[in-house]
C-alpha cells in the first residue's frame, strides 16, 4: 500500500500517527508549544472512527494518572506536554515505570527553568534520561530530528513500550513541534482488542488475579525487583541503541548533537569541510540507551568532540563518560529558547577545540 504524503506540523504528525498506530487513548492538557496535538486530535474525532479515546484532563497530573490506569488495563495510551507540564507528570511517570507498564509520553521541550519561555530548547535531557522522578528507573528516550521522525517514533515508541513494558518518552523540542515538513504517513492499523495476560481486566477462574503496583514493603523483595529492572535496562542498552552518522568516516573533529541541534550541525559539518576542517556528526536517536559504545570507538579516531545542545551542557556529560578521557570533550549551546546557527557552531569548534 502506498504511503500517504502530507505537509504537517510536527505536533500534528504526532497526533495523526497516534490515530494510525491504533492508540486506545490520549489524555492531555494544553501547553504551548505542544497544544496542536490535543487540538488536532479533538478536530479529528478518532472516537468516531477507530474508537480511540481523546480526553482533556483537568490537569497534567490527572492526565498522567489516567495514562497509568489505561496502561494497567493493557491499553495503548499516551500523553503529551511541554517542559513545565512534564515536570508535573514526573510522579506518575516513576509510578508507571515502577509498575512496569507501557505508555508513550511526548515532551515538546521549551526553555526553562520554571515557566521559562515558549521557544525551543533541549534543557530537559537530564530529566528525560536520568529519571525526573524518584527511584532507580529509566525511560526509553527517542529524539526525533524531523517531522517524519515525530510521526515514525509514535509507532516505534508504542512497540518498544510494550516489548519491554516500560514507559517511552519522545524528547522533541518546540522547533520540531512547530515546523511544517512533508511527512509520509504509514497506513492505519486497527486497534487491538487482545487482553494482555498481565492486564487488570477482571479475574477469570483460570488464573490468579493480576496485581499492578509499585509498592513492596519488604526491602528484600524490592531489591530483587530493582535487580530485575536493571537486567531489563541492560537488555535495552544491548539491543535498542539507535544513532545516525554523518561524514564520520574520516572525521578529525566530531559533533554530537540530537534533534534540532543535529540539523544545525549537519550544516556546520558542510561549512567546516568547506574550510578544510574534517568534521563529522553523530546523532543519537535513542538518548537512553545512549550510543556510548560507538562514541568510545570514534573517540580513538578523532582529535576532539563537541557536544552541541540547546542547553547549558547536559548530554555533554554522557559524551564525556563515553569518551572516557581519550580526547577532549567540550560543550557549546545557546539557551532560553534560542537556536544555534551553523556558523556559531563552527566558530566555537575552532575556538574551543582547535585553538586550545
Amino acid at each position: 500500500m502506498e504511503r500517504e504524503l502530507r505537509l504537517m506540523k510536527g505536533n500534528e504528525a504526532v497526533a495523526e500517527a497516534a490515530i494510525r498506530a491504533g492508540a486506545d487513548g490520549y489524555f492531555g492538557y494544553p501547553i504551548t508549544p505542544q497544544s496542536e496535538i490535543l487540538e488536532y486530535l479533538m478536530a479529528s474525532k478518532p472516537w468516531e472512527t477507530t474508537g480511540m479515546v481523546v480526553l482533556q484532563a483537568e490537569s497534567e497530573i490527572a492526565a498522567i494518572n489516567m495514562v497509568y490506569g489505561g496502561a494497567a488495563c493493557g491499553k495503548k495510551v499516551m500523553t503529551t506536554s511541554s517542559s513545565p507540564g512534564i515536570s508535573l507528570k514526573q510522579e506518575g511517570i516513576t509510578y508507571i515505570a515502577g509498575a512496569e507498564l507501557p505508555c508513550l509520553i511526548v515532551n515538546v521541550v521549551r526553555g526553562g527553568p520554571g515557566l521559562g519561555t515558549i521557544q525551543p530548547a533541549q534543557s530537559d535531557y537530564f530529566q528525560a534520561t536520568k529519571g525526573g522522578g524518584h527511584g532507580d528507573y529509566h525511560l526509553i528516550v527517542l529524539a526525533p530530528a524531523s517531522v517524519q521522525e515525530m510521526a515514525d517514533f509514535v509507532g516505534l515508541g508504542f512497540d518498544l513500550a510494550f516489548r519491554y513494558r516500560n514507559p517511552v518518552m519522545i524528547l522533541s523540542d518546540g522547533a520540531i513541534g512547530q515546523m511544517m515538513e512533508k511527512v509520509y504517513l504509514s497506513p492505519p492499523k486497527e486497534r487491538s482488542e487482545e487482553i494482555l495476560p498481565w492486564a487488570t481486566r477482571g479475574k477469570p477462574a483460570t488464573r490468579e488475579r493480576n496485581i499492578i503496583t509499585s509498592l513492596d514493603l519488604d526491602p528484600k523483595g524490592q531489591e530483587i525487583f530493582n535487580q530485575k529492572l536493571i537486567a531489563k535496562y541492560n537488555e535495552i542498552k544491548e539491543k535498542e541503541v539507535r544513532f545516525e552518522e554523518f561524514q564520520c568516516d574520516d572525521a578529525e573533529y566530531l559533533f554530537v548533537a540530537y534533534g534540532t541541534s543535529a540539523r544545525v550541525c549537519q550544516k556546520s559539518v558542510e561549512l567546516a569541510r568547506g574550510e578544510g576542517i574534517k568534521a563529522g556528526l553523530l546523532r543519537p536517536i535513542t538518548l537512553f540507551p545512549f550510543p556510548s559504545v560507538r562514541i568510545n570507538e570514534l573517540s580513538s579516531k578523532v582529535k576532539g568532540i563537541m557536544s552541541v545542545e540547546m542547553s547549558a551542557g547536559q548530554m555533554v556529560e554522557d559524551v564525556m563518560l563515553a569518551a572516557n578521557g581519550k580526547v577532549p570533550v567540550v560543550h557549546f549551546g545557546r539557551m532560553g529558547g534560542i537556536v544555534t546557527t551553523p556558523e556559531e557552531v563552527v566558530e566555537n569548534l575552532k575556538l574551543k577545540l582547535m585553538e586550545s
Binding site: 504551548t32 508549544p33 497544544s35 515558549i118 512547530q178 515546523m179 511544517m180
Partner: protein, 74 residues
C-alpha cells in the same frame, strides 16, 4: 509604470513568532508585536504599514501561511 502600494493581513492566532517574515521584508514593514496571541507568541504585524510595497516575500517565506498580501495601484 504605476506605483504599487501593498498591505498585509496577519492571521495572529496561527503565528508562532518565528520572525522569518521580518527578516525577509525589504522595507522594514513588519515587526514583532509586544503583545502575544492566545498561545503566548509575539506575533508579526505591520508596524510600518506605509512602507509596504506588496512584494509578498513575507507571505512566501511564512512556514504557516499566516500572511495575506493585498496590492493596489496608485
Amino acid at each position: 509604470m504605476a506605483k504599487v502600494k501593498g498591505s498585509i493581513v496577519v492571521n495572529i492566532e496561527r503565528c508562532k513568532g518565528c520572525e522569518i517574515c521580518m527578516i525577509s521584508c525589504p522595507t522594514g514593514t513588519i515587526a514583532m508585536a509586544k503583545e502575544v496571541n492566545s498561545k503566548g507568541y509575539n506575533y508579526a504585524w505591520p508596524a510600518n504599514p506605509d512602507l509596504c510595497i506588496g512584494c509578498a516575500n513575507c507571505a512566501i517565506v511564512c512556514p504557516d501561511g499566516v500572511i495575506t498580501v493585498y496590492r493596489t495601484k496608485i
